[in-house]
Subunit: 340 residues, 2 copies
DNA sequence: TATAAACACGAAAACGTTTGCGTAACTTTA
DNA sequence: TAAAGTTACGCAAACGTTTTCGTGTTTATA
């Protein structure tokens, strides 16, 4: 790579001092018009751009925000990143993305790499392993230093920082209510292990709706999918049984799509024999047949809000109270629940 | 945010010079064991980490690579980013992601922001608008400065830099061949406008296969989807006609899934009346019914290769010849072409 | 005991930038 | 013509780090 042109080199070229060049390029009236114009022309010709590192070091501000997500190949997370990037960009920030890969260790190392001065703030959705082991010291350390931090989606309730979450309880409530209103008596829940915060919250909404509708809770209808085992087989055990449920609420799109597949293979009519709803942010639900009724999560919006909270936190030193924003979901009704 | 601890502050604390502290923390034998250990304990207690900006400035190396993609909410691109991030991380680099949003202007500004000293190299897939207008000056400028640059997927053939592409021609050839072998006489092509490089290449593979199989080319079976118009309606005009094609090759998953939908709504049997194949890297094809036979693109692999090329270029100053790597596709046969 | 070697640290430059302040030289004012 | 003001630039510090070289003090060698 060719060495970049610097103030020093321009100064040498003109036999003036570095500060003269700096001022000339900034159109300072301190510099005579003649010298100023010649320096500007020269700099322009060589496409001078101030070295960002030097500026960042001097100004103690990088205008970069870090983002750590459990994975990026996931419609929801890429939507959130998209939202973050958009808002950040509009406000003069760039985005540095790291992937924890659901690993505690990688999350810690990501944070360590990012918080060595190269970013002004951090947006994180917590890795599965971290949620499992409940070791949050790396976040507590950040908070202790008042480092600007925003948690989204997979959050830790007790941490003193800004947060953005989906209305998981409300979304699950609405979906379950919809299923019961359509006549379902035995609504199964396909959820994650309890330590995943969003899974737990969606279960909460599901249970609330049952109670509200006067349906007795049947623990045997709650299935906690294990991530390291075969998904399809686990879902078969839900549907491919003597007395399958007459409705299913799945906490994500993949579970829902697989449930639909198994049900169809078993010869069940959808939605007549079994109605299915999934949480979603992807495109699968639209293209299954029948298309899946979905609890739509607005990832892009979530990203924008997270970025907004973070940038406010970075730029307003006044220590405002920490916010917790809740992004509403909405129920997109398709033919997996109503066939008309 | 609390001010971070620096060498200067530690030095003041111990009444020694900055260089002594620096050396002590690096376990230099120049510093007496007593002082060394005390300084290290102190630094450890206050969780000292060298300021990355200062190091980057001094070493003239950031260990960050920039990535510009047209969009991130797209399974293929997020897979590539995932691959880049993985390889980069394993080799001590971080990743800064920018999104051009298919806009020429944003692409230019992204490059401008990134190449002001804050990254060591750049990986780009070109925006649609840039491909359309054919204005490549921003890339030529980079190349003129020998700035490490790798183009992937949407590339510019004439540019002197490393490139990674999918075997678009081969993938389309194989898919078309498959359709013809199954008895198709009138294979339609659902492609993009010609200026999109991958669309053009896939058309080339399609045409090659027709020629190889002795099928006469029928230009009226080639449909160039326009991005700003309604997708569904455009696809209806392909299938919902008196004499629809008996097979379709779509250059992406969304086109294919919509074609499937339209065909089913028209009452066509799949694959008996009409067989469908789509290029893909997402999950939709797996969950349609019937599932779609797909030309699978290995985005993750592509990302890894792009990162490898870039990092080699960054670290080996010896000006090796520019490489053009081709990632093979493979045909995943599902029931939209063979029902058995 | 004089000299050489080892030890333990500090000074300063370098990376590239901005900016407050100082100061010559020149111009205006009284 | 002396005092004051203006013009046009340079100096130096600051951001935080690493590293080469220099140097004073102590210890070992002949």
């Amino acid at each position: 790579m060719k060495p970049r042109i610097t103030l020093k080199k321009i100064a040498k070229e003109f036999g003036v001092s570095i500060s003269t060049v700096s001022k000339a390029l900034k159109d300072s009236h301190e510099i005579s018009e003649d010298v100023r114009e010649r320096i500007k022309a020269f700099a322009d010709f060589y496409n001078y751009k101030p070295n960002s590192l030097a500026l960042q070091l001097r100004n103690q501000k990088t205008s970069v925000i870090g983002v750590i997500v459990p994975e990026i190949v996931h419609h929801f997370f890429s939507q959130v990143i998209d939202g973050i990037e958009k808002y950040a960009n509009e406000h003069g920030y760039s985005v540095m993305v790291c992937i924890s890969n659901e690993s505690y260790k990688k999350e810690v190392s990501n944070i360590s790499v990012l918080t060595n001065g190269s970013i002004d703030g951090l947006i994180v959705s917590i890795a599965r392993e971290t949620q499992e082991t409940q070791n949050f010291k790396h976040f507590e350390d950040l908070i202790k230093d008042d480092f600007p931090l925003v948690l989204f989606d997979r959050i830790i309730e007790d941490l003193q920082c800004d947060k953005v979450i989906i209305d998981d309880v409300g979304g699950a409530f609405q979906a379950t209510e919809h299923l019961i209103d359509l006549g379902a008596k035995r609504v199964a829940l396909l959820t994650t292990q309890d330590y995943i915060s969003v899974g737990a919250l969606r279960k909460e909404g599901y249970l609330k709706a049952l109670v509200a509708k006067g349906v007795t809770i049947d623990e045997s209808l709650i299935y906690r999918i294990e991530d390291n085992k075969n998904l399809y087989e686990q879902i078969e055990k839900v549907i491919n049984v003597p007395n399958p449920p007459d409705a299913i609420l799945a906490v994500n799109e993949i579970y829902a799509a697989n449930a639909l597949k198994v049900a169809k293979e078993r010869g069940l009519a959808i939605p007549e024999d079994i109605a299915i709803i999934g949480f979603t942010s992807g495109l699968i639900s639209e293209f299954t047949s029948p298309p899946l009724t979905s609890v739509v999560q607005h990832g892009f919006l979530m990203g924008q809000h997270a970025a907004e909270l973070l940038i406010n936190r970075i730029e307003h030193t006044a220590p405002e109270a920490f916010q917790k924003e809740v992004i509403s979901t909405n129920l997109k009704v398709r033919k997996s629940t109503i066939n008309s």
